[in-house]
């Protein structure tokens, strides 16, 4: 797009393609946080997306069919509709869901939901459609004091005749929760189960007595099935009607078949078998695969969908005659994401839930497509899980980090670029100083697209127009006054244009562009502020004069004139009622008494006056309707924004809230994206205000400072925005309006480690591809290089056979100005328990290619690498090893071992800060090492003596280190450097503990949001974490006083916000592993705290009373926290 300026300004709109980039640095965090990293706030930025369970039934109403999806710690309830899946609610569960089952108790018209958690709590939920509430029908604790938790996961099943719930939680025990005849649950009891290695248990259909079928492995590793009847009265098993020995060695899944066929299907890796009580035995061979997900298609059980580990969807057909199974048939349907759950929905549409890739809604077609697939993907649902690694980069150089994750597994692997806030994708820009206002105009009232851009300066106004070539060029609108600053512009009815200046209001014909009518400001007065819509103009002059004009028959008619007691600072009459061309309300902001007033139109009578308090003048007011709810927004000169619910007929204001968006005056403007109205707040921290689920949300825009914005919806670039920044006018398109923006780069292989290199503008990652031929399986491992902006593949380096990429960093060395990628590897040989050989590969990026510069063999797996004092620190099996970068005589370099430190089980994760090294061990928690330059030695300073199996570590500051471990807990430890004794100094003191409920694979310093150095929130250091379930979260280290305040808020909120199913928040967040359970400390649950904003006004007031802090203040403080992520 080009811009030709007629006249003296030789500027042109430039395409902005080349930008420079930088990784994030957090100097502020490092310097100010030393004293405060103990008090941490944990919050989810991206909720879990990995689907673990799904089921279908009539949950929300007898005639409503629902899909219920479990995403580890949350359930989502969807409604089946003609348009597809309609999401209803997302329910946080205080536990990791182990079992999710719908069942229909006797005499009920709706299904109940049974949920059991990994920490042995369960609940039965019922939907109360009248109140839209989840009622707890029963709940309890099913843990046993003694018992060895099952290795193969927990099993929870419900008798198809609703006589009992069966649970297999500990080896050798089967727990029964009986139902009474009224459907009430009774006291649970345990039954001894002789089979110790249980793979699956299911209830059989159509049995007079409740009967289970158990798939188990004996001590010779052979697999069998056996049946038991549950004798409820005797609280014992009775030997069942049949059993079947010597099944497929890979048998792992049982599918019970409904009556009248009955019996069970046993899914193996090479065969599928059907057997039942009448000794019917049918088997078919299958191509070797692991099938872990199934979905029943027909209620009578004649067809099942099976999903295998390569993402192939099969149809298993039971052929039957006269209620007897006569054969099995398996048919290929097509490829989906690798399924973890399959739910047949309705009319041939199936939900495929996945832990390894995006979940999908697919349709089963009668005809194969060109690739031979009967599966058509209707919709894909984003899943970041498992996040195996990620890096934080600042591609736009705006001070805001983006997270690039290694997501997904096997063929569903991908990179995901996750960015907070809304991106403006600049299409064109031009240097232009001193813009004071910006409006777009259409060439006629009914034209769908904008034509002109009106740019106002201090003493002139310029007009740009799209020409036939879709270029922007300067033009004239003859009837407008170009010799003065424009205060407002607007398309009006009867194909007119309105221009308001300090002296006059001008009405100009769209077609002739000539002046049609004019209203002049009275002698001695000039217009200060103005607003207009299609048929009305409201303006204020000095002295508190407010003048209301209407456009009637192409004339400006002064309808009303009043004088207010103070000067007027801003006005608005954006129509929010049914008539889009006429407003019956106006909003006016005032100097002196710092108020905002709602006036009725046309008579300008005061309907409501709201005093804002403080001394900061309102600078912009806006009436708007978002998601059908009317609001009054009022922005102050200091970056604060008030929002009120507005009753469009009475003008009443309620639900007053205050948020801090920036520090400079804000100007508010509505714009439209994909047919939905949003609000743009221009300021030093531009923000989009939008409504989601009827709640106002604030999302950052990835621009530094915006002075003015107007929508500029042109045919060439629909839905674009014109943006005036300091010294620049630009045109850009806007991302989808949502808080997190996720871009997927499919890899078709699994990425494991990733790292960014600013200097070469690349990302490099280690990945592997699973190759399966008919004879054997193998993996090929790579190091790949990508352009960090286009994500184009630049270069690839294939590792040796059996060699895995384990770590990757970008670093430079002492006395060498080059920047390198260092990759640590391991030779994973099938016959070895632990790798005994690996390599460190040093690559340079030359002309977009990976050039291997140096390789160094190691005596084990290089689990972690760090740039350290101009050297390279590697964690190799049990050892921490430091390498020097040495120049050889021939000018080449080599890595030379300098010193090391033994004494770890496996040193998996290392982080460094100055001379300090923190090591996360496989089993031995966190230890702190120090490098002594003079002695050229690494020594241990202190360690945490707890036996935590670590999954990630990071140093929050010099003294406080954070770790995540494999029981889904996170904890902080403190260096006791001031302790009196050596013994104490040698001990890392545990100072914080918290059950996150998520398996963290990586902790990294960084922020997803723009950090304003002069704001309070900008000073809070944050760490980002990524988990197996696809969660991206933030750990923010708070100042102590803020922590204390929020701790009180959390304990108050617990009284008002109950755990669904009556599960306890305190128990859920308590640190828990097989050795101990202790109350959470020095960590706050940000998800709970931020749900304050979702409370009804009356509940907020109750909380406010409990806290002794006004609602407005509470909302503001919590709203600020939401802007951390």
């Amino acid at each position: 797009m080009l811009c030709t300026w007629r006249g003296e300004v030789p500027a042109s709109l430039l395409l902005t393609s080349s930008r420079t980039l930088s990784t994030l640095h957090f100097p502020a965090a490092a310097e100010t946080a030393a004293e405060m990293s103990v008090w941490n706030y944990v919050v989810t930025a991206h909720k879990p997306t990995s689907v673990t369970h799904s089921c279908v039934g009539n949950f929300t109403g007898p005639n409503q069919l629902n899909l219920i999806v479990a995403k580890c710690t949350r359930i989502e309830i969807h409604l089946l509709t003609p348009q597809g899946l309609q999401p209803m609610i997302d329910v946080p569960i205080y536990g990791r869901i182990a079992t999710l089952e719908l069942f229909r108790p006797h005499n009920e018209t709706q299904d109940f939901l049974f949920i059991a958690t990994e920490r042995y709590k369960f609940c039965v939920l019922q939907w109360d459609a009248e109140k839209s509430e989840l009622l707890t029908r029963a709940m309890g604790d099913v843990s046993d004091r003694i018992g060895r938790p099952t290795d193969n996961g927990q099993i929870g099943i419900i008798d198809p005749d609703c006589r009992l719930i069966g649970l297999h939680l500990y080896d050798g025990l089967f727990k029964v929760i009986p139902f009474d005849i009224k459907g009430q649950l009774k006291e649970a009891f345990n039954i001894r189960l002789e089979e110790l290695q249980v793979l699956d248990i299911k209830f059989l259909y159509g049995c007079v007595k409740p009967t289970i079928v158990v798939l188990y492995q004996d001590n010779k590793d052979a697999r069998h099935v056996k049946t038991y009847e549950v004798a409820l009265k005797d609280k014992d098993f009775v030997e069942g009607p049949w059993s079947q020995n010597n099944l497929d060695n890979g048998a792992g899944l049982l599918i019970p078949v409904p009556a009248p066929l009955g019996g069970v299907i046993i899914i193996g890796e090479e065969t599928i078998v059907y057997c039942n009580a009448n000794a019917t035995f049918r088997a078919i061979p299958i191509k070797q695969s692991i099938i872990r997900a199934y979905g029943r298609v027909d209620p009578d059980g004649s067809r099942y969908l099976l999903g295998d580990n390569t993402g192939i969807l099969h149809l298993l057909v039971l052929t039957h005659e006269r209620e007897r199974v006569t054969g099995l048939k398996i048919e290929y349907l097509g490829e989906t994401s690798i399924a973890s759950s399959i739910s047949y929905l309705d009319n041939g549409v199936v939900y495929v839930g996945s832990r390894f890739g995006d979940s999908q809604l697919v349709k089963l077609n009668l005809q194969a497509d060109t690739s031979g697939s009967y599966v058509e993907v209707l919709e894909r649902y984003v899943n970041l899980g498992p996040i195996v690694d990620f890096c934080v980069v600042d591609l736009d150089r705006q001070g805001q980090g983006q997270v690039v994750t290694c997501s997904g597994a096997f063929k569903d692997g991908s990179l995901r670029v996750v960015r907070n806030g809304i991106g403006i994708n600049e299409q064109a820009s031009v240097e232009l100083q001193g813009i004071k206002g910006l409006w777009s105009l259409k060439s006629s009232f009914n034209d769908p697209y904008d034509m002109y851009l009106v740019v106002s300066f201090i003493s002139e106004t310029r007009f740009l127009a799209m020409n036939m070539e879709d270029e922007l060029e300067e033009t004239e609108i003859e009837g407008f006054d170009a010799q003065t600053q424009t205060l407002f512009c607007q398309n009006a009815i009867s194909d007119l244009l309105v221009q308001v200046t300090a002296n006059s209001v001008r009405l100009v014909s769209c077609t002739s562009r000539e002046l049609v009518d004019q209203w002049n400001a009275p002698e001695g007065y000039s217009v200060n502020v103005a607003s207009a819509n299609a048929s009305q103009v409201l303006l204020a002059t000095g002295g508190g004069h407010l003048v209301y004009l209407e456009i009637r028959d192409s004339k400006l008619v002064e309808v009303k004139h009043i004088q207010l007691e103070h000067e007027i600072s801003c006005v608005d009459l954006n129509p929010i009622g049914e008539n889009p061309q006429y407003s019956s309300l106006a909003a006016v902001g005032m100097w002196t008494d710092i108020s905002v007033r709602i006036l009725s139109l046309p008579d300008l009578e005061l309907k409501r006056k709201e005093t804002l308090g403080g001394e900061i003048v309102p600078r912009s007011v806006l009436l708007c309707t978002l998601e059908g709810i009317s609001y009054l927004l009022c922005a102050l000169g200091d970056g604060h924004l008030f929002s009120f619910l507005l009753n469009a007929s009475s003008g009443d204001l309620s639900d007053r809230k205050k948020v801090s968006l920036g520090t400079q005056p804000i100007s508010l403007r509505t714009f439209s994206s994909k047919g939905t109205t949003h609000v743009f707040a221009s300021s030093d921290r531009p923000t989009v205000i939008y409504s989601s689920n009827k709640k106002l949300l604030y999302s950052n825009v990835n621009l530094k400072e915006v002075n003015h914005m107007c929508p500029f919806n042109t045919a060439a670039i629909p839905d674009s925005l014109a943006i005036a920044k300091e010294g620049e006018l630009s045109i850009g398109t806007i991302d989808d309006i949502q808080k997190l923006h996720i871009r997927t780069i499919p890899l078709n292989e699994q990425a494991r480690r990733i790292c960014h290199q600013e200097q070469s503008r690349t990302l490099a990652f280690c990945s592997f591809k699973h190759n399966q031929t008919s004879i054997e399986e193998s993996e090929t491992h790579f190091v790949r290089l990508l352009d960090h902006q286009t994500f184009e593949f630049l270069s690839i380096y294939q590792l040796d056979p059996y060699e895995h990429g384990c770590s990757i960093i970008s670093c430079s060395f002492s006395d060498d100005n080059n920047v390198y990628y260092c990759v640590g590897t391991a030779y994973v040989l099938p016959e070895e328990n632990e790798p005994t050989k690996g390599r460190i590969l040093v690559f340079a990026v030359e002309d977009g290619r990976l050039q291997l510069i140096v390789e160094k063999e190691t005596k084990g797996a290089v689990y972690s690498l760090n740039a350290f004092n101009g050297k390279l620190l590697a964690a190799i099996n049990q050892k921490i090893q430091l390498y020097k970068w040495m120049l050889r005589e021939d000018g080449s370099h080599e890595l030379q071992s300098e010193c090391g430190h033994h004494g770890h089980i496996l040193a998996l994760y290392t982080q460094t800060r100055g001379d300090f090294i923190v090591v996360g061990d496989l089993m031995k928690s966190i230890s702190l090492l120090v490098y002594k330059h003079e002695e050229s030695a690494i020594e241990e300073l202190a360690r945490d003596y707890n036996a935590n199996w670590m999954s990630a570590v990071e140093m929050l500051d010099d003294e406080i280190y954070i770790g995540a471990e494999n029981n889904y807990n996170i904890f902080t430890v403190r260096k006791n450097s001031d302790a009196a004794t050596d013994e104490e100094r040698g001990r890392l003191e545990v100072v914080g503990e918290y059950h996150l409920g998520e398996f963290v694979n990586r902790l990294r310093h960084g922020s997803l949001v723009m950090r304003l150095p002069d704001s309070e929130m900008g000073q809070i250091p944050t760490v980002i974490f990524g988990t197996i379930n696809g969660v991206i979260g933030i750990i923010a280290s708070l100042p102590h006083d803020q922590y204390v305040f929020l701790e009180k808020l959390q304990s108050t909120l617990v009284k008002f916000i109950k755990g669904v199913g009556n599960l306890s928040h305190e128990q859920w967040r308590s640190f828990h592993n097989d050795k101990k359970t202790s109350e959470a400390r020095n960590f706050l649950d940000g998800d709970l705290i931020e749900s304050f904003l979702d409370l009804s006004r009356s509940k907020m007031e109750e909380v406010s009373k409990g806290m002794g802090v006004p609602v407005e203040e509470l909302s503001k403080r919590v709203e600020e926290l939401t802007r951390l992520h």
């Binding site: 069919l65 089946l80 509709t81 003609p82 348009q83 597809g84 999401p87 609610i89 997302d90 369960f122 609940c123 039965v124 989840l134 707890t136 029908r137 029963a138 709940m139 009474d180 005849i181 009430q184 009774k186 006291e187 649970a188 009891f189 345990n190 001894r192 007595k209 409820l232 009265k233 609280k235 014992d236 067809r303 149809l315 048939k329 048919e331 929905l345 309705d346 009319n347 809604l361 349709k363 089963l364 009668l366 009967y374 993907v377 209707l378 919709e379 689920n693 949502q738 996720i742 997927t744 008002f1056 916000i1057 109950k1058 755990g1059 669904v1060 199913g1061 009556n1062 749900s1091 979702d1094 409370l1095």
Partner: protein, 104 residues
Amino acid sequence: MGSSLGGWPSYNPQNFSQVVPADPSAQPLNVIPATYIATHRTDPPPGQVITTDPKNILLRHFYQKSEEKLRPKRAAPDNLTPQNNGKQPRGPVADGGGQASGRS
């Protein structure tokens, strides 16, 4: 093939009738439904906080054996378990009924 396909169960023929397949090149959906917040009571009805019979399996067998000798004159000694005080009067009656109907 084909004979096994089709004839898919239909519970409401309208469901999914207006779905337009998403563009395969489009980014996957990131739908976030409204978060459910329970500000209402979530405690279960009386007697529906379930615990496990604390009796050791072996002891339970002993009791059951001795109990069998005494039946049908007396109700099960389970009634005396302390956790169940609140719902005691109805417990055994319902139990008996449940068993009877289950077995018939």
